[in-house]
Each structure stands twice: as C-alpha cells, then as structure tokens.
C-alpha cells in the first residue's frame, strides 16, 4: 500500500492460532532438539542466539533453521497459549511465518497463514526484512492463491519500506527501524539492502514468466515491483524493461479492435489475457516515474487508450495527459484519429470510469489550448469539441472538471490571460453538440435538444442543479467551481476583456446574442465554433440574470450545516462580488456566519487569505474587502491571524487609491471606535459594529488587534490623508497663532478630516486604552506629529504635553472612558515614554523659532547669510533629522524639520559645499530603527517602513506585493499569503487539542478484551474468568510494546523498559511477576515494568501501550500474592478512566499490591466515592515511603 505504515493494535490480542497448526506439524516432526530455545517464545531474551547467528551468516540458512525451530518450538509454544491468552507478539508472528513457510505444502499451514498469521501481521507498521527469505520461499513453493496474495502484499511492503517504520507516532503498533536493529545484530542482521535485490530478482522473474496459467501472478508481481525504491536507477531501468517488454507483446492494436470496449467478457481467452497484462503493465507504468524523453511512454499509453480494460484505459489516459502537459504537439500527433468520431477517445466518453473521463477532459483541455498547435486549429477544435461533450457528463466530477478547463483553471498555476479568456469563452460560446454523437440520448436528458445552446446557460443550469444536491462533497465542489468562475471573471475584468465596467454589466449583456461576433476576431482564441446564435433569448437569459439566479442558489447554500461547505460558499461569494456591487447581503452573511463558533481558526484564515487573493485580482475591491475584514476583526478577533489581517489592511489601503483612502482608513480604525464587549449581551450577534469577545482569549486577541490598528493608524494616517509636513504649505508661523485649542481643532478638521479623525481616535486611545495600547498610541501620535504639517503637529504637541503632565482626563471629559485601570501618578503612566518624544518636538519648534528670528534679523538688516550661519543652520537641520529618524521614517531629502523657509537656505549651503542629500534608508538610525531605543520594541514599527511617503514607491510596492522585502515585520504573513495565492499548501493542519493524540486507551482496551473474549475465551477453560470481577478483561493480556517485541530483545529502541530490569525490580520490590505463576514455567520475563517517567512517553507514542495491565485485575484472585505489602499515599486526586482503575483522593492511604507498566495495583482501606476498594492507579500518583 501507499506507505507501509498501517496498523492497529488489535489483532494482536486475539489469541495466536499458530499452536493448532504447529501442533499438527509437530506431531509429525521430531521432538524438540533444543527445548531451551523453543521456550524463548514468551521470554524476553528473543530468539536463540544460535538462530540469530545463522541468520546473519546466510539468508538461506534461516529457512533450514526455522524448520527445525518450528518443529522444536511447537510443543512449548502451545502451552503458554493454552494457559493464558497472550497477545500475538510480532516475534511470534514472525516465527510462525518461518515455521509455516517450512511446511507450506500442508493445507493446515496454509489455512493458518491466511486466517491468522498474515492478517495479524498486517497490523504492524512495517515488516521485518528478515521475513523476506521465508516469504520468498512461500512464494516459490506454495500453491495456495490466498497465501500467495498475502505474500505479494508483504513483499511489496518490504520493498516500499522507506523510513516509515521506527517509532511512528501515528499510533498503531510501532515497529522499530529494522535496519538499525540489524546493525546491532538484534534481528539476525538482515537489512533491507540484503533482501531487496533478492525480492526484485524473484519478482522480476515472475513478471516475465509467459506461462498463461501464471499470468495472474505476473500481475501481482508487477504490482509489487512498483514499490521498489525508484531512486535506484538500476532497478528502475529494469522495471521499465519488464513493463515495456510486456506492453510490446500485448500492444498490438489490431487484435483488440474487434472486441467490445466495455470489458472483454466473452472475448477469447488470449485477448483477455492480453488485456489483463496490458492493464497490469500500464498500471505499473503509471506508478513509475514519467520519462518524457522516452517515446515508448507515449506510444504504449496511446495504444492503451484502446484497451479493453477500463482501468488500463484510465491509466493510459492519465499518462497521456501528463505527457500532453509537456509536449502537446507530440501527443496530438500520436493520438491522430483517436479523437475523431468513432475513435478511442470518443469511446472513453461512454466508459464507465469517472476518473478516465476526468483525464480525458484534462487531455482535451491541454491540447485545445496548446500554443504549439496554433497551426492546426482543426486538431484543437476536435479536442475542444470532446471537452464540450464532457460538459454534459452525468458525473459531477467530470462535468466540473470540464467547466474548470473551460474557465482556464487546469493546473495550479494562475495565468490571468488564461483565466480571462476562460470567462470570455464561458460567456460567449455557443455549444453545438456534434451530430455524430451516437449515444447522445443516453446523456443528460435536458440536452436532447439539438439546438445550439449558449455555453454559460448550460453551465449555470448544471451548477444550479448541483447546488440542490444533498451530498456535501457535491455542494462543496459546486461552490468551488463558482469560486473559480469568480476568479476568471475577475481576471476578465482586470484585463478589460469585457470592455465594460461593472455598472454597465447588465445592459451590455442584456442579450446574449449580441455578444458573439463583437470582438471575436481580436481575441486570441482560435476555437471559435460559434457564428450563429439562437435569437430570442429572454431577459432572464442574460448573463447577469443567470449569474444572479445562480448566486441566489449559492447563497441559500449557506444554510448547509457543514462549515466547510459554508466556507467555500463564502469564498465563492467573495469572488463573485464585484467591486461596485452592493455587498450588504454578503456582509450580513459573513457577519452571521462568523458568530457561529463552529468556524475553526484555520478556516477563517483561509477566508481572510481569500480576501487577499481577491484584492490582488481586483484592487478596486479594496474598500469592500476592508469592510469585510473589519467583520473578522470585530467578530472573531481571537481566531484570525493578526499578521494576515494587518497585511490586508495595508495592501487594501495602498490599493484603495486616492478616493478610497479615507474610507479604507475608516474601515480599519473602526475597530478603535467600538464599544468594549458587553458581557452577556446577545444583541450584537449579527451586528458588525459590535465586538464579540466573550472569552478571555478573544478579548486578549482583540486587544492585540486594537494595538495593531493603533499602530497602523499612526503609520498610515498621513498617507491616507495625503498630509505630509514636507508638502505642507502652511508656514510654521501660522501655527503659533492658533494656540487656542478649539480653533486649532476646527482648523485641523476643516483642513483634513481624515487626519483629524485619525488624530481624535489616537488621542482617545492614548489615555483610555489599556497600558499597551496607550504606549502605541503615543508612539503613533509622535509619528503623525513628525510627519504632519501644521496645525496637526501643534495639536499633537499640545496633547502629548498634557498627557505627560497628567490630569488630562478632566480636560477631555467627553472622551472620558476609563477602563478601570489606575492611571498612575503621572496621569497616564506614559511620562517616561513621552518625554523624548516631546523633546524632539520641542527642539523642532525652538529651532524653528530661532530660524524665524534669524531670518527676520537678516531681512531687517538686509544681510546675506554668511557661510558660518548657514553651516550652523545646516547642522541643526541634520541633527534634527537624525533625531526625527529615531522615531519614524521620513524622507531625508524632503523632510524639513526647520520648516519650509529653511529649504532655500539649506539648498544654498548644500550647493555651495557639494553635499548631496543623503537618502533616508542608508541612515544608521533608520536602519537600526527606533526599536533599539524604546523599550516596547516588539510593538514598534520598523523604522525603515517606506510607506506612504512617495506615491511612486507605494505604487511600486503595491504592484509587487510579493517582493516587499521591507515589510519585515510581516514576513510570516507574507509567506502565508503568497503560499495561498500560489495555491500551495498541503501541510498538515494544526489541531488545537493535543490530548487527542494521547487519548486514554481504556475504552480501546476494553474493546480488545471483548474481542478476545468472544473469540477464543469461550473455548478455553472458563474457570479462570469465573468469579473474577471483570471477566471482560480476562483475556486482555499485556499489549505493551515491550512484550510484543520482547522475544526479539531489542528493548532499548522502542520499549521503555530499562535494560537493567533485574536490578530495578529488586529495588522496587514490587512483587513477583504474575507470569511466574501462570505463563511460563521458566521464569525469564520480569514484570513488564517501566519507570514512571518513561510511561508518559510511551503512552503518548502508543496509546495502547501498557494498558494491558488492566487484565491483572481479573486475574487478581489467582495472582500469587506478593510478599511484603507496600503502603503509600495518594499524592494527587486521580479519577478512574476505566473499570479497572481506581479513583484516588489526595492524601489517601493505599496498599500497593504490585506494579505493572507504570501502574500500581492498590487497595484502599475504605471504599471510595465509587465504592471500589482496589484498582489500578498511575505510579506517579502514589507516594511510596
């Protein structure tokens, strides 16, 4: 199978059947020559050393050895099984295979193998290479088909074993790294490297065996061979040789033409064998790496399309369509007439194999779009016509594939032109069904009408009917198709192919018949099959009408109870949303959806990323998308990825253009205006203007989001408001005249409402938010003060001043919103932070004052500026620039800390001294950023942020979203977005609840126990289970890994049992093993003990490990009681997880009966709440004196 990693524990428990068989074989065989070695079955010492040695010496030897071992082992083998139901350990199974392989000619052996040994072996993650010799022997000698089938299965698993073994954390029964074990001589020194060549040798020989009777085995050999490591070029070339050899023999098409296409039933024997072989070899070929340089691939795959075997046809088509993606011309030539009516490709249309038709759709799509075939429009149109026929396919999978192909979505690469022409095709083509299609009537009934139909009508009708399906996969897929449709449509609009803006959409498409000839000639597509159109299409057949009715159906699908379907529907709606459509409906859908707690974070972020993708496709959508993003911010702050959200804000703000900037900023900062979440209020469930942050986690996330928004506001308000100090025309003097606060605010808001609004919000945050928010707000305000001209700077200056002094609340009583936090002695507690900021502004203002004074002096005195004076001025300018750069990024060439008047003077000085204005980015202060200077570093924006300064820069950045190396803070979000846009991402989802992995295995074990009881316990003497408190678990014997592999003595690798178990046991004194009395007469196995610390790990990796200990409860009464009882006290409360466990209250005194696998079996003095007196408790919970 795929990877050899399957497994569970269960089968192991079922009693080992081997004894029965072996007894029969042993009865005929000699008495045990080495009784000691045979008893090792249940011992921890593993296989006898002698056997191990011989194995290592030669692979063949093992078989001889095992024969004698088999004969020897049998009798002793039975005894423990009869007495006590041991789970079948891996070593037992392995041994059984060796034994039974030696006697494979006997029916009973075969039966054992098929019914017991092989099925149980399947439970293990991987198969030990040392089994290979026995398997190969079985393969050669055994006649039984069922045995052989298993043998092929296991040989394939050995071949494919690539690192999936070892302590697989995936659960099930882990197996060790066999090769590593072999190296330390634990399993007999057989590694895969030893056996793989032999297996391949033998399978290759079988695969080339031409004997007719043998051909079923040939098929399986071929199959198993495909699992061989394909990295080995020798093996690979050998496989190719075999496969092509077979294909060459069977690939004569003239022979097969006679047969019916649907299966070869009733065909002659020879042709059936041919088709079987062709099937197997094509299937094998499909699994081998594609070698595009090898013409044999194409040749035989094309022949395979005419095969009688439907699966062979599918594999052949898959190979052909893969080759077509690389070399469409060659494929088109090779297919030749197959595509024409009566050809093999037409037959595939009626083949009862969905995936074959899907491959056909891809193939046709690839060829009909191939640039290499521009010279051959006839070929392209033939393939296109087959593709259109697939649109009528009864299977949704095929139909949707065809629609996606039409839409230009056929691989993961997104090409806007392809998409745009896809939408063009969909909306304008007329589908004319080929008259020659013989079985048309068997297709979709609605398509019986021979009249040409607009393609889009057909597609819409199909999609609408799919949305009425009850099947969730169909709904999901249909929504996905609509989403792809939206993508293509967006691409078409982006490229202006429609030549219409969205507002005129309806009218332009008012009559589908207008659409056909208009710009057909200009369009690059050559597959225009449409010239005449059916007239008289009614109004509702307009594209807009059809879309509207489709979207209505899509919207109703939001009612589906499956959240994944709903997510896909919302994505589809987002994609179908035009930039100028009203999005009220979408907004309310999303808002009510997000109130549903069923949405997982992953899913929400997926939708958020969809917004990114949507923005990239249509930057016009910026404002709409921001509004949608706002819903996420307010509704599910705890679940969305703040980085991705911020990136979306940023991109959308930049993309919103001059007109949308104000709105965009509002949409972001609305978060700041929201009233704090009201506990217990259900009012706002569907309102987007209310925050839903009911639990602490989302409240925290909301706060982080607010921080982000504040920061964002500070960084971007100037850009959004188009207000820059260096472009301000207001002379600094004006500001000084507006010291009256009211006047100032009035002037500010009349001058630039966007910036004034942002200021007001930040001011409120600066003293009413939480501590973190206040800090960021102060920083944001400083940034704005530095970047804005007057009167804003002065306004902020005054505000900061007051803030630093404290006692501000009385002044700004209208925004008096205390969050209940003590504001501290300095009012806001921000004094320390604020003083450097205020200092910068102070210096700027005083320097400006000085400058104005100087200028007046010079003017009055009619003096020229001397060089020294200019130098002094310039130095002040540079000093202030450096200072300012510590707080935020400003363009050094343009920024004038001394105000606009200084521009001329500084220019004069620069020209005189040949100083080129340094660029801001190379400034060390900028490069280091403010982050090193202010303690709240993580929240501080990277000072090198180039945002909003230069429209060219911004546009360049927006256009080149992916290459923005400067957005360092959001590199992870960037990656995520880019990955999403690229359609990548197959990595595993994250699951919040880790405990799923280490779920208690109790129930599982119980089930096992039951399994056992039902099967074998009944035949056994019931005496043991009688009277036991929990008969269910009688048969449940230990399943810990250590015992499964105990027989092979490699505990250090994956068992938690310490090697020095003897000493440990002695020191623990936890009592003699119960095995002593019951299981084996020769006491070699210590109690399966694991140290408490290790138990944790083990239970994590293998939930079932160690739980076999439950069985001890039932065996309690026959247990040989231990010598000195130990007493202990419960350290913590413990709640029983199963019937055999015992609840403890901290401090309770208990008597420790024995210890097993990290559990104590304890007795209490008094029955607890549950009325139980005795049971298992974890070792760690008990304090031993």
């Amino acid at each position: 199978m795929a990877d050899s990693s399957g497994t569970t524990l269960m089968d192991l428990i079922t009693a080992d059947p081997t004894p029965a068989t072996s007894s029969s074989s042993s009865s005929t065989s000699a008495p045990p020559p080495s009784a000691t070695s045979s008893t090792s079955l249940s011992s921890t010492l593993g296989k006898p050393a002698t056997e191990k040695k011989s194995k290592r010496a030669t692979l063949m030897q093992i078989q001889n050895d095992t024969i004698s071992a088999a004969k020897a082992a049998v009798r002793t083998n039975i005894m423990p099984q009869k007495q006590k139901k041991k789970p079948v350990s891996y070593s037992q199974l392995a041994r059984s295979i060796h034994e039974l392989a030696a006697t494979s000619d006997q029916r009973s052996s075969q039966r054992q193998l098929v019914q017991h040994v092989f099925p149980k072996l399947a439970v293990y993650n991987s198969v030990d290479p040392s089994l290979a010799p026995s398997l190969l022997m079985l393969n050669q000698q055994c006649e039984d088909k069922s045995v052989l089938r298993y043998v092929y299965y296991y040989l394939a698993r050995i071949l494919s074993d690539t690192g999936s073994q070892g302590l697989s954390s995936g659960g099930g029964i882990p197996t060790p790294n066999w090769d590593a074990l072999a190296d330390i001589d634990a399993v007999g020194g057989v590694t895969r490297a030893d056996v793989v060549p032999r297996i391949i040798e033998q399978l290759s020989a079988e695969a080339t065996n031409a004997d007719v009777e043998f051909h079923a085995r040939r098929l399986q050999s071929l199959k198993a061979l495909t699992y061989a490591p394909s990295t080995n070029s020798d093996i690979l070339s050998r496989l190719y040789e075999i496969v092509f050899g077979i294909l060459e023999k069977v690939g004569d098409p003239s022979q097969k033409k006679k047969k019916g296409i649907l299966g070869g039933k009733g065909g002659d024997k020879e042709s059936i064998i041919r088709s079987n072989l062709q099937y197997a070899s094509l299937s094998a070929l499909r699994r081998l790496p594609l070698d595009p340089g090898n013409p044999a691939f194409l040749h035989y795959a094309v022949l395979g399309i005419s095969s009688a075997d439907p699966v062979a046809v599918r594999n052949a088509l898959e190979i052909v369509s893969e080759i077509a993606a690389r070399d469409p011309y060659a494929v088109a030539m090779a297919l030749g007439k197959q595509v024409q009516p009566g050809g093999a490709l037409q037959d595939v249309l009626h083949l009862h194999d969905v995936l074959a038709r899907v491959s056909l759709a891809r193939l046709c799509c690839t060829i009909s779009r191939a640039k290499a075939l521009d010279e051959r429009p006839d070929i392209r149109s033939q393939f296109n016509s087959v593709l259109y026929q697939l649109l009528l396919d009864p299977s949704e999978r095929v139909c949707f594939e065809a629609i996606l192909c039409v839409l230009g979505k056929y691989d993961s690469a997104e090409r806007t032109e392809e998409r745009a022409s896809g939408w063009y095709r969909l909306t304008r083509e007329i589908l004319k069904l080929p008259d020659a299609s013989s079985k048309e009537s068997s297709k979709d009934k609605s398509q019986k009408i021979k009249r040409p139909q607009p393609l889009i009508k057909l597609v819409m009708r199909r999609l609408e009917s799919s949305f009425r399906s009850f099947s969730r996969p169909v709904l999901h897929a249909a929504a996905r198709v609509v989403q792809e449709m939206g993508k293509s449509r967006a691409a078409a609009f982006a490229l202006g192919i429609q030549d219409v803006d969205e507002g005129a959409h309806v009218n332009t498409f008012a009559d589908a018949s207008d659409l056909n000839d208009s710009d057909e000639s200009t369009h690059p597509e050559s597959i225009r099959r449409t010239s005449s159109v059916s007239n008289g299409t009614a109004g509702r057949d307009t594209i807009a009408g059809m879309l509207a009715s489709l979207m209505e159906v899509v919207r109703t699908t939001v009612a589906c109870e499956c959240v994944y379907v709903r997510a896909m529907v919302i994505k589809a709606l987002i994609w179908m949303q035009g930039p100028f459509d009203s999005f009220d409906e979408l907004e309310s859908i999303i808002a009510s959806e997000l109130s549903d707690p069923a949405w997982s974070a992953g899913l929400l972020n997926d939708v958020l990323l969809t917004l990114h993708a949507r923005f990239k496709a249509s930057p016009d959508m910026a404002v709409t998308l921001l509004e949608i993003a706002r819903i996420f911010a307010t509704k599910v702050p705890g679940k969305v990825d703040a980085d991705v959200l911020q990136l979306l804000w940023k991109t959308c703000l930049v993309g919103a253009g001059p007109d949308g900037k104000h709105k965009a900023l509002e949409a972001v900062t609305i978060v700041l205006d929201l009233p704090p979440p009201q506990p217990g209020s259900m009012l706002g469930l569907t309102s987007v203007d209310r925050v839903s942050a009911s639990d602490p986690k989302s409240a925290l996330a909301l706060q982080r989001l607010v921080q982000a928004a504040v920061w964002f506001l500070g960084e971007n308000a100037n850009y959004a408001a188009s207000e820059y100090a260096w472009e301000s025309a207001t002379p600094p003097g004006t500001a000084l005249m507006m010291l009256d606060a009211d006047k100032m605010v009035a002037a500010a808001s009349s001058r630039n409402p966007t910036l004034a609004g942002a200021l007001t919000r930040l001011q409120r945050c600066a003293f009413s938010g939480s501590w973190e928010i206040r800090i960021i707000a102060a920083q944001a305000l400083t940034t704005m003060a530095i970047r804005s001209g007057e009167p804003f700077r002065l306004q902020i200056y005054e505000f900061l001043h007051t803030l630093a002094q404290g006692g501000l609340q009385s002044q700004l009583s209208d925004v008096h919103l205390s969050n209940g936090e003590d504001q501290g002695a300095s009012g806001t507690g921000l004094g320390v932070l604020l003083s450097p900021m205020i200092k910068v502004l102070d210096e700027m203002y005083s320097a400006q004052d000085d400058l104005i004074k100087e200028v007046r002096n010079h003017d009055n005195a009619k003096k020229e500026w001397t060089d020294d004076e200019l130098k002094k001025l310039y130095e002040t300018h540079e000093r202030l620039l450096d200072l300012v750069s510590l707080f935020c990024y400003v363009p050094r060439t343009k920024y004038l800390p001394l105000g606009p008047i200084s521009a001329k003077l500084i220019d004069i000085y620069r020209t005189r001294h040949n100083i080129s204005a340094s660029t801001g980015l190379s400034d060390p202060a900028v490069a280091t950023g403010i982050s090193d200077l202010i303690y709240e570093s993580s929240k501080t924006p990277a000072a090198a942020e180039p945002d909003a300064l230069d429209d060219d820069l911004v546009n360049a950045w927006a256009a080149n979203l992916g290459d923005d190396g400067l957005w360092g803070n959001n590199a992870p979000a960037m990656n995520r977005v880019n990955e999403f846009l690229a359609g990548a991402g197959t990595d595993a989802p994250e699951v919040d609840e880790e405990n799923i992995i280490s779920r208690p295995s109790v129930s599982y074990d119980d089930m096992w126990a039951k399994t056992l009881l039902e099967t074998t316990e009944l035949e056994e003497d019931d005496a043991k289970s009688l009277g036991s408190s929990s008969p269910d678990s009688t048969g449940s014997v230990e399943t810990s890994i250590s015992s499964h592999f105990g027989g092979m003595s490699y505990p250090s690798l994956f068992s938690s049992r310490p090697n020095s178990y003897g000493a440990d046991k002695a020191s623990r004194g936890s009592g003699p093993s119960i095995y002593e009395g019951i299981s084996s007469p020769i006491r070699e196995e210590p109690p399966p003990y694991s140290s408490p610390g290790m138990y944790r790990n083990e239970s994590f990796e293998n939930p079932l490990a160690g739980t076999g200990s439950r069985s001890f409860e039932s065996q309690d009464d026959e247990r040989i009681s231990s010598g000195n009882p130990q007493f202990g006290s419960a350290l913590y409360d413990f709640t029983a997880g199963g019937d055999d466990e015992l609840s403890l209250t901290a401090g309770e005194e208990v008597e420790i009966e024995y210890e097993v696998d990290g559990w104590f079996y304890v007795k209490k003095k008094r029955p607890g709440r549950d009325g139980k007196m005795a049971g298992l408790v974890p070792v760690l919970y008990v304090n031993q004196p």
């Binding site: 149980k120 069922s146 659960g171 079923a216 709904l475 996905r480 599982y1004």
Partner: protein, 147 residues
C-alpha cells in the same frame, strides 16, 4: 494524489492508516486533525453519508460505516468528488468483505482481507480498481478479467 486513507473506530483509535506523500512528521497532525474532525461531525451521521472538509489545497472526504469511520485525504485531481469515488469504492469493498456495515469486531476479524482490498483500491497514491467484483478477484489472486 491520495494522501491518506484512514480507518478509525468510534473512539478515534486508528485501525488502518495509509499515507502517501505525506512527510512523516506531518502524519501525526493529519491523524489528529482527522480524528477531531470525525469526533466533531460524525455523531448521528447515517452510514455512508459523505462529509467533506478541506485544508488549504487538500480535500478530505469522510464517512462512517457501521462502527468504523473512514477518512480519505487527497489533493490535485483527487478533489472532494474524486475522493467520494474513492471512499465509495472503499466502503463497498468493506461491506463486501464484512457482509454488511461492520461492527468493529467484524472489521477486525476481516482485517487482513480489508488490507488486501485497500491494496487493490489505492495503489501508490492513485485510485486503481473500483469494481467490487474485480477487487474480489484480485485479492484472491485471480486475474481482473476471467476467461
């Protein structure tokens, strides 16, 4: 590519798992994700009713059959509908082997046969055989088409 086929019992313990093309370190994540998915959604679902999920560009279709829940994960050509085909083939093969929607115990009794069926249905990450009879023949080492 079929990335994973997983069988679990009602408690979320894995009975069979087959991964293809999934890095070893991600398998545990997938496993937990699927089990959680099942625990959240499979309550009260009818036998063989298909449920769907997706994660990035990976699709998941899952269902319940008797005591056993079955998950199939795929990408690319194996989208939710193709996976529906896969899971349909799997469920019908399992029903065929077990005679009816299996109890866990029955499933375990037929463990080996089911593994063989799975071996014929999903082969190295691709769907192979879909027909019940054909699968039945193949696991008995008979040729796919009898003569």
């Amino acid at each position: 590519m079929i990335l994973a086929v997983l069988f679990a019992n009602a408690e979320g313990n894995i009975l069979i798992k087959r991964f293809h093309g999934v890095p070893a370190e991600e398998r545990l994540h997938w496993r937990s994700f699927l089990v959680k998915l099942g625990a959240d959604n499979l309550k009260g679902v009818k036998n063989e009713e298909l449920l769907v999920a997706c994660h990035k560009s990976v699709y998941i279709v899952y269902t319940i059959l008797g005591d056993v829940s079955i998950y199939v994960v795929g990408k690319d050509a194996y989208d939710e509908l193709a996976l529906s085909e896969v899971i349909f083939t799997i469920t019908s093969a399992v029903k065929d082997v077990c005679g009816k929607p299996p109890t866990e115990r029955r499933f375990l009794d037929k463990y080996g046969r089911i593994c063989l069926c799975l071996d014929e249905i999903v082969w190295k990450g691709y769907l192979e055989n879909t027909e019940k009879d054909r699968i039945k023949r193949l696991i008995r080492l008979k040729p796919p088409t009898e003569f």
